[in-house]
């Protein structure tokens, strides 16, 4: 059991760095006035920062990807093959956030876009890239428009383009607008979409670092991951590594939604107690009700019952122990009145709607799952449907090109596993052997 205090230290006095309390920070002038592009200037003008040194600093910080998988960022950067002047290489910043319960990148794109640009530029320098793409989901149209304006300003100021700050380093940055498909957030699918192709995920290997955008070496990082990079340079990797949970360090944006009094995106260190996030940060459960369930990191991460979160903190290790995942730290909070069957019905509908249809198990399975869960929700299901659902999850998990099938199957598997009584109660009683009376205990 984790200590009840969590790993976030004195979080009540935490000073925000990703979304600092600065008015109009989305404007270049304001960003500059508050230390913006200082990190970029530092690495480009100070000789101690060769590309390897930058990568090493990020490695030292312990920064793990904030897009869901939590892969160490510095290590990912070092997977890029040795530089070959004939072979272009790319960075892509993944801003296609679209998993239900996840809305934290949007805050960065809206309130601190230059931190994202600066992070991308530093990463471009660290990996010696001639260009990078910022792929943003099309639904974020307003912020895309705004960011395109800010990008122009940054170009005009010489932060991006040829011979940046007289350093001899040149790189380009493009904003690309998605067209509204969840699957485009999958990195290889995103690359196909970026190339103008149908967004089907690619078979791996080859991995993006070998064959990515246009067939060239590519690194793909999440928006929040890259936005954290400038402060790692400014304050040092050790500073970053000292924040929050030791094995999953740094500040993180918690997107808290659902039945809480103050839903929203909150920046705090990793390793926060879930209970602190719900009851203090988000102001407790709406209407003073009791907590029933929590999805910690976006809809695909396994749901936790209220009795499972005692002492659990928001970092990979603690959540794994508790039986779930950190994901995107987009928390869905559900109160005691929530119908878990109905909840699962909505989740299965989402994955059915968003399966790209490339692989058989996912294309066919996601719809089948929704069919069955819907039937149960409408009181027409049978008890054997529950076993069938679990069986279908096994038919889908790990058998497809990308992880969407897993993402669709896990909520089904774990919601049934952890709330089976609710599902059984909604099933038709006809299959219960005669003579057995349905009581609360057996239903």
């Amino acid at each position: 059991m984790e200590p009840k205090t969590g790993k976030a230290g004195d979080w009540r006095n935490y000073e925000r760095v990703l979304l600092p309390k600065v008015k109009d920070l989305h404007l270049l002038e304001v960003y500059e006035a508050n230390g913006g592009y200082k990190a970029l200037r530092e690495i480009l003008t100070n000789d101690k920062w060769d590309p390897t040194a930058v990568t090493n600093e990020v490695k030292k910080s312990g920064l793990k990807g904030r897009g869901g998988a939590g892969f160490p960022t510095g290590l990912k950067w070092s997977f890029m093959p040795p530089i070959n002047p004939d072979i272009p290489r790319y960075l892509c910043c993944n801003g296609d956030e679209s998993e239900p319960g996840t809305f934290k990148d949007r805050q960065l794109l809206e309130y601190n876009p230059h931190a994202v640009f600066e992070g991308m530029l530093i990463a471009s320098y660290a990996m010696s890239l001639a260009g990078s793409y910022l792929y943003i989901r099309g639904e974020y149209a307003d912020w895309i428009t705004h960011m395109e304006g800010e990008l122009k300003k940054a170009y005009a100021k010489g932060y991006i383009g040829k011979d940046i700050m007289g350093s001899g380093f040149s790189t380009e940055l493009y904003i690309h607008k998605g067209a509204g498909a969840y699957i485009c957030g999958e990195e290889s699918s995103l690359m196909n979409s970026l190339e103008g192709k149908r967004a089907y995920p690619r078979v791996k290997p080859p991995f993006p670092a070998q064959k990515g955008i246009w067939g060239y070496p590519t690194t793909i990082n999440n928006v929040e991951t890259l936005a954290a990079v400038p402060e790692i340079i400014n304050r040092g990797g050790e500073w970053f590594a000292g924040i929050g949970a030791p094995t999953h360090a740094g500040p993180v944006l918690y997107g808290i939604s659902g039945h809480v009094n103050r839903p929203g995106v909150y920046e705090y260190p990793t390793g926060m107690l879930i209970s602190d996030l719900i009851y203090e940060v988000a102001g407790g459960i709406r209407g003073g009700k009791k907590l029933k369930a929590l999805v910690p990191g976006g809809s695909s991460t396994p749901v936790l019952r209220a009795d499972m979160i005692d002492g659990v903190t928001m970092d990979a290790d603690s959540l794994r122990e508790a039986g779930s995942m950190m994901g995107t730290s987009g928390m869905l909070v559900m109160d005691e009145d929530t119908d878990m069957v109905s909840f699962l019905r909505r989740i299965t509908h989402f994955y059915h709607h968003e399966s790209c249809g490339q692989c058989t198990p996912c294309r066919e399975g996601t719809g089948w799952l929704e069919n069955i869960v819907t039937r149960i929700d409408e009181g027409e299901g049978n008890l054997r449907d529950l076993d069938l659902l679990i069986d279908l999850c096994s038919e889908m998990e790990g058998r497809t090109v990308c992880a969407l099938a897993d993402a669709a199957a896990w909520p089904v598997r774990y919601t049934i596993d952890r709330f089976r009584d609710e599902f059984e109660a909604k099933c038709k009683a006809s299959l219960v052997p005669s003579g057995v009376e349905l009581t609360e205990a057996t239903a």
Binding site: E364, N371, R399
Partner: protein, 571 residues
């Protein structure tokens, strides 16, 4: 040499082959849908999943770690792997459905998933009987379905283009058709539209699927989603016999199967031949079969009056006997076989006539540097190898000058070709071997001898690259002989078609004869012995006597034909 163990059996391999391809080449069946050897492997059907393990390597010695019994320790991938994309490495251990219950279960699961939204309308589907989904569902699939919901509805009976009809519901989204237009024909006319379970292939807005190779997607479609607008609903696959042969609409000699029901050609599909046409066939050559069924010339005629074959041979022989020496002109044919043209040259030689010429049929711009050629004849190279030259107008001049009494035309149409006019032929006796009643030289013919077409004869064609290939009879004619009967029996993949089997059918028989029957019959009446036991023996004589055909025996040609250079023929 590097080895891989598949289901306990060890194989040697070279290079870095892909597992599924390697299995197929070694006769190990692994069920699959989306993989096609000529195209990229998207691994989307998930049917070819297998368990794969590799030896655990010692980092320092770079040698496999051994267990207590001295066997390499195998570390298996935690997930099942798609064999279509898996590269084989040394020491790899593979378990297919034969040795792994997990794999067997996974294959059953995938088939269950594939079938839940499939309409299962096999009784009315043209693909039934040769449908990979149907076959593999019976072989590897579950016994029933646990799916109890309404299936997804998608567009049906949608013409994608002039030749291909789409049934979206039958589609299993293997993307073979899309990849064909992207990677093989490069027309980029198909894509998958919609998302998830509603996916199906479609042309982009405003585009018609008029790719000249569009019908290949019908063959590679592993279900009945793409069917031929020309042949669908006309015959079930089990009602037809298929005969390996070649198409004769061009000079490439594309390998094909002729599908026959009731002695009618129902459709033409490609036959794999890496040397000639790989897996593909142009639409034009697939649709070029109606001439075998329709407007056929039935029975010989003398002076426009129907006669017996014997009477027609007699009439032809006496016409030539009456003509002065060297006053019979012979026109060979690049549509006819090497054997028939050879017999014609022998006859011309015996009568003291000059070597036959042949009519070139060239349509500029028709060729595409792939399987279509400007030359519309299948045997120009074969004619030239026999020493025949293309007709350039000399024949017309000779007729105009009154140097010709009798014109002997083998399987061609000089009037339609514009080589000779009806007026020029008015003063000449014409002996004509013809296929169809549409032959424009027919009205000028004194003796007409209906000729067997490529689907009714035995013989050899030489394509534009000097590749000699055999044709075999796909259907019966009225005057079947022992050789034809044996060839039908031997060649048709189902071994049906002789009068002794239950598929034998007397309907639609054409009263015609192959050149290697009618030419010797005429020659015999002129005192020229041409006693061959069949085309095989004619070809053996050609191989021995004509240097450009040295080594070109039927045995050497086999099923895939042979490059004449490779068997020692002079170029």
């Amino acid at each position: 040499m590097a080895t891989v163990t598949i289901d306990g059996q060890t194989f040697e391999f070279e290079g870095r082959p892909r597992l599924l391809q390697f299995c197929l080449e070694n006769g190990i069946e692994v069920p699959h849908f989306c993989y096609h050897p000529a195209m990229s492997a998207p691994a989307n059907c998930r049917q070819c999943l297998v368990e794969v393990g590799t030896p655990e390597m010692d980092r320092e010695t770079r040698k496999p770690r051994l267990d207590d019994d001295g066997n390499p320790i195998i570390r298996y991938f935690p997930k099942l792997q798609t064999s279509c994309t898996m590269e084989i490495t040394d020491g790899m251990v593979v378990k297919s459905h034969r040795s792994s219950e997990t794999v067997e279960r996974a294959q059953k699961d995938t088939l269950e998933m594939l079938l839940i939204n499939h309409p299962l309308d096999c009784p009315i589907c043209d693909q039934a009987g040769h449908c990979p989904l149907q076959i593999q569902a019976y072989k590897y699939g579950p016994e029933g379905s646990r799916f109890e919901f309404e299936k997804v509805n998608k567009p049906k009976q949608i013409p994608l283009g002039p030749e291909v009809m789409l049934d979206g519901e039958r589609c299993i989204n293997c993307t073979r058709c899309v990849r064909f237009t992207n990677e093989i024909s490069k027309s980029h006319q198909l894509t998958i539209i919609e998302r998830g379970v509603r996916n199906y292939p479609m042309t982009p807005p405003g585009i018609t699927f008029d790719d000249p190779y569009s019908m290949n997607v019908i063959d590679i479609c592993p279900v009945g989603a793409l069917t031929s607008r020309d042949s669908r609903f006309k015959a079930r696959i089990w009602e037809m016999s298929k005969t390996p042969s070649i198409t004769t609409g061009g000079a490439n000699g594309n390998n094909c199967y002729y599908w026959v029901k009731d002695n009618q050609i129902m459709k033409v599909t490609p036959r794999d031949n890496p040397e000639v046409n790989e897996y593909w066939l142009p639409d034009a050559e697939r649709l070029d079969y109606k001439r075998f069924n329709e407007d056929r010339l039935q029975g010989p005629a003398v002076g426009g009056v129907a006669s017996s074959w014997e009477a027609a041979y007699d009439a032809a022989a006496s016409l030539m006997k009456e003509a002065g020496k060297g006053r019979v002109a012979f026109l060979g044919s690049a549509y006819a076989t090497v054997e028939d043209n050879y017999l014609l040259t022998r006859l011309a030689d015996a009568l003291g006539s000059s070597t036959p010429t042949f009519i070139p049929h060239v349509e500029n711009g028709r060729g595409d540097d792939w399987l279509m050629t400007d030359d519309r004849t299948p045997n120009r190279d074969g004619c030239e190898r026999l020493g025949m030259s293309p007709e350039t107008g000399a024949l017309a001049t000779r007729i105009e000058n009154g140097e010709v009494d009798v014109l002997y035309v083998l399987e061609d149409d000089p009037v339609a070709a514009g080589i000779l006019t009806a007026e020029q032929l008015a003063g000449v006796k014409v002996i004509l071997h013809a296929y169809n009643t549409t032959n424009e030289t027919l009205p000028a013919a004194t003796v007409s001898l209906p000729a067997a077409t490529v689907v009714e004869t035995v013989g050899t064609f030489v394509n534009q690259k000097g590749h000699a290939q055999r044709v075999r009879p796909a259907k019966s004619i009225k005057g079947m002989n022992r050789t034809l009967m044996m060839e039908v029996g031997k060649s048709r993949a189902d071994l049906h078609g002789t009068p002794f089997d239950r598929w034998h059918n007397e309907s639609n028989l054409v009263d015609c004869q192959p050149g290697w029957v009618s030419l010797p019959a005429v020659a015999k009446r002129l005192g020229q012995g041409m006693d061959y036991r069949g085309p095989k023996y004619i070809m053996r004589e050609i191989a021995e006597s004509v240097s450009a055909f040295s080594g070109a025996t039927y045995d050497a040609m086999g099923d895939q034909g042979v490059r004449l250079e490779d068997v020692g023929a002079a170029v």
